[in-house]
Amino acid sequence: MTTAGRTAPGPTALARRDPTVVLGTLLVVSLLLLVPVDPWTPGALLVAAVAAARAGGVPWRTLLRGAATFGPFAVSVLAVNLVTRPGVPVAHVAGLTVTDVGALVGAGLAVRTLLVGTLAVVVASSLDPVRLVTSLHQRVGLTSRAAAALLAGHRVLEQLPARWVAVRQAQAARLPGPRPRRPGRLPASPRLLGRAAFTLLVVTLRQAQQMAVALETRGVGSGPRTVHRPVPLGPGDGVLAATALGVVLLVGLVTWRLGLLETWGTVGR
C-alpha cells in the first residue's frame, strides 16, 4: 500500500493475528500506561516491546523510523516538565528551576511517549485495513453499511496523495506568468496550498457522492451480506492478548514491589 505516511505492512507475526484483538489489546495497554508516571515502568516495557517486535519480525528500520518521529515529542515533554513542576530544586538552567518531581515525571512521560509511539508503529506496520474492517464487522457488529462506507473511505485515502499532486499540477498550469525554471517544481505559497487543500476536499466529497450511488446501486445496505474472506479468530489471539496484558501487569507489580512505581497520587502529595 502506498498511502502517504503509512508504514508498509510486512510479514510480521502480528499481521496474522485478528486486527480487532490487536487494537483492543493495544488500547487496554495504553490505558494501563496512564497509571505510572515514573520512567522505570514504561522503560522496562519499552525494552520488552522492542524485544517482542524484533522477535515478531519487525525490522530495525521500522523501529528506528518510529523513534526518530517520536523522539522530538519525548524531548519536548521532558523539557517542559523539568521546569514547570513543583518540588525540591535540583538545578538551575537558563534562569529556570529544575525540580526533582519535574525530572521524575518528565522522564516518565517522555519514556511513555516513546513506548506508545513504538507500539503504534509496530501495529500500523502490520495492519491490513481491509482485514481490519472485516474483523470489526465480524467481532464488534460493525454493520455492512458502515463497513462499506469505511472501505470507501480507505479507497479515498489510497488515492489521496496522487489526487493532491494532480490538483497542484493543475493549479500550477493555470498560474499566470512564465513557466517555472525547474520542471517538476510546484508553487508552494501558503495561499496556493490552502486553495489546493480546499479543492482536494471538494473533489473528494464529490467522489464520495459517486461512491455512495455506486454502493446503493449494488444493493449495499439493503440487507445482510456475506463476507468474502473472513478473518479467523484462534487461540493465538487469546495468547497474544493475555501475554501483553500479563507482561504489563507483571512489570507494574515488580516496580511497585521495588518501590519504583510512582503515580499522580504519589507525586502530587
Partner: protein
Amino acid sequence: MTAAGRDVAPDAGADRVDADGRADAPVVDVRARRGLTLSELVLLAVLAVLFGFLYWALVQAWAALQIAMGPFGDLAQHVLIGGWMVVAPLAIYIVRKPGVGVVVELVAALVEFAFLASPVGPMLLLVGLVQGVGAELAFTLTRYRRYGWWVFVASGVTAALASTLLGTVRYGWHLQDLFALRVGLQVVSGIVLCGLLARVLGDALARTGVLDETALGRERRARRAAAEVPA
C-alpha cells in the same frame, strides 16, 4: 441522489425558515433525523479519512512548532488543538444528526493511528471520543436545531474543555504552574480552529454545490427559496 429513498424534498421545511433567513433555523424533516443513510455514512467516512490525513499532517507541523518553542514546546499542542477537533462540528453542520460528531472523530482517530501511525498511539481513540463528545455537546443542547455562529463558538469551547480534562488526567496538568495558560490557549484554539473554522469550511463547501444533497444543502436551498418568495 436519493439516499436510500430517505432524503427530503429540496424545499422540505421551507415554511419553517425565519423571515430573515437565519442560518440557525430548524429545517430538517423529522423523518430524516432517524439513523444515517448510506450516502451520509460514506460522506462521514470520507470526511473522517480526509481529516484523519490532515490531522496526521498537523502532527508534523506540531513537531516543528515544538522544536521552535524550545523548552516550552509542550505548549505547542494547545495552540493547534482546535485543528484536531474541527471535523466534529463540520460533520454535524453538514449532516445534522445526533452522534455524527463523535463517530467522525473516532474514525478520523482510527485512520490517524491505525493507518498513518500517529505518535499519539491508540490513545487517539479515547482522545477522539472525548473531543467528539465535547464538540457535539453544544449542538446537543440546542437539540441539533441551531447552527448560528455562537453555537459553533460554544462547540469550540466545550471541545477544548473536554480535551483539557482528558489531558489533565493523562499528564497531570493541574499540578503544573502553567495550568491556566494551558486552559486559555486550548479554549482560544478551540473557538478559532475548531468552532469558527468548521462553520467557515461548511459554508465554503456548501457554496461549491458539493453538499447539495445533505441537510446543510437542503437548508440553504430552502432559505434561498424563502428569500425569493415575494412579500
